[in-house]
């Protein structure tokens, strides 16, 4: 009782502090400093219509590279923590025909929609991370509905590595052509898609990087699911 009231009191004090701090920031007023620069130059400098993805991939590409690294480390960490010699699915009850058939019908659509999200990253909200997570949902569905389903490991792990390395490679090509890492060579040097901004084949290297990130995130999260649903079997 005393513990709980002390905790509530502390939270109230912290909340009051935060509210006091935010009270100084007026709501609904223009306080952008660099924001204006992004919004005014995003089309001519990156070719993307979606300013958010342009900032995330192009202006601040290092952040995204870091995020991809974080996800990779998370996946490797889960694999290392749950590493055992012999692992198997231990689920016993097969789902009913409604569940399994529904999953069979849904999985292709889920994967197609995930790809749709990351291919249109430079035009619509979304991008590589939501798209990849959607694809992983498809594999989660398969894991939930079928007691024996397993992702094809060799293919998945290779694809993940290749996608990650290709991202760095795209950046390195930029270093060779334009002088700095993650330089957008497709847009700045090749001028590809300059005449059709807003259509699919535009946006410099954003679509390419997002396809790579989508594939990487999709395979990575599926790998985490795979690691977590399996249990050790005694020999």
């Amino acid at each position: 009782m005393l513990k709980r009231s002390l905790a509530i009191l502390t939270l109230l004090i912290i909340g009051y502090w935060l509210a006091q701090g935010l009270a100084g920031v007026p709501f609904g007023q223009d306080r952008m400093l660099v924001g204006h620069y992004y919004l005014e130059h995003v089309k001519e400098q990156t070719g993307a219509v979606n300013a958010v993805t342009a900032i995330v991939v192009n202006y601040r590409g290092f952040d995204t590279l870091g995020e991809v690294t974080v996800l990779f480390i998370a996946s490797t960490g889960v694999a290392a923590l749950l590493w055992r010699k012999k692992k198997k699915r231990s689920a016993k009850t097969e789902g009913s025909v409604v569940l399994t058939t529904g999953t069979r019908l849904l999985v292709p659509f889920v994967i197609l929609f995930g790809s749709y999200i990351f291919i249109h990253g430079h035009l619509t909200p979304g991008g590589g991370f939501p798209g990849g997570a959607t694809i992983a949902t498809g594999f989660l569905l398969l894991y939930m509905a079928f007691t024996t389903y397993e992702i094809p490991h060799r293919g998945f792990e290779k694809t993940e590595g290749i996608a990650g390395m290709s991202y760095v490679l795209v950046g390195l090509i930029g270093l060779g052509i334009g002088g700095y890492f993650l330089f957008d060579w497709i847009w700045q040097t090749w001028q590809l898609g300059t005449d059709n901004i807003g259509r699919l084949f535009s946006g410099g290297f954003i679509p390419i990087i997002y396809i790579l990130i989508g594939i990487k995130v999709g395979t990575e999260l599926s790998g985490i699911i795979d690691n977590m649903v399996k249990e050790e079997v005694s020999e």
Binding site: S96, V97, V98, T100, T101, G102, R104, L105, V107, P108, F109, I111, L112, F113, S115, Y116, I119, L142, N196, R199, L200, F201
Partner: protein
């Protein structure tokens, strides 16, 4: 129904995925069409094995016509069932007589069974609890006939005459 050839199943998956892509993008820009076709080919290659067993036979004109006709038929059944449940809720005496009944179905394919189970659940008043081979266990809000034949006549038969043609 036997399994169709791999090519037929693959082509069917690609066609369905491409149609979905057309609905998703809602544009006939050639760039979108090219990428959509490419994606349908790729995703189809990975998923056709789980997606379909009967392949292109699903696109038989008779089946497509029945599938299109089934949409308004089902919507009408859904509206009537909703009104029926609303009547039962609003009626001061609350005339319900709930119970679980067993039904038999004549459908053979898994997809047909899924469609039937979902049709039963989406029409209020009946909920599919479990499907076991050709037996359906259904929670019925107003049980008028608890024999297997009688319940099937009332619940599954109206949908089956369409679903039998669409899915087999």
């Amino acid at each position: 129904m036997g399994e169709a050839s791999k090519i037929s199943r693959y082509l069917y998956t690609v066609i369905v995925l491409f149609l979905i892509w057309l609905f998703l993008t809602a544009s006939l820009d050639p760039q979108e069409l090219e990428v959509g076709l490419l994606l349908a080919l790729i995703v189809g290659a990975f998923t056709y094995e789980i997606f379909t067993t009967s392949g292109l036979a699903n696109l038989h004109p008779r089946r497509v016509v029945y599938a299109i006709a089934y949409v308004p038929y089902f919507l009408w059944a859904m509206i009537m069932a909703n009104l029926d449940v609303a009547y039962r809720v609003l009626h001061p005496k609350r005339p319900i007589n709930p119970g679980i009944v067993e039904c038999k179905t004549v459908l053979k394919s898994d997809v047909g069974k899924l469609a039937l189970a979902n049709s039963i659940t989406l029409t209020p008043g009946t909920i599919t609890l479990d499907v076991d081979d050709d037996r359906y266990f259904i929670h019925w809000i107003n049980v008028t006939d608890d024999s297997v034949e009688g319940a099937s006549m009332n619940i599954t038969a109206p949908f089956e005459k369409f679903l039998k043609v669409i899915f087999g």
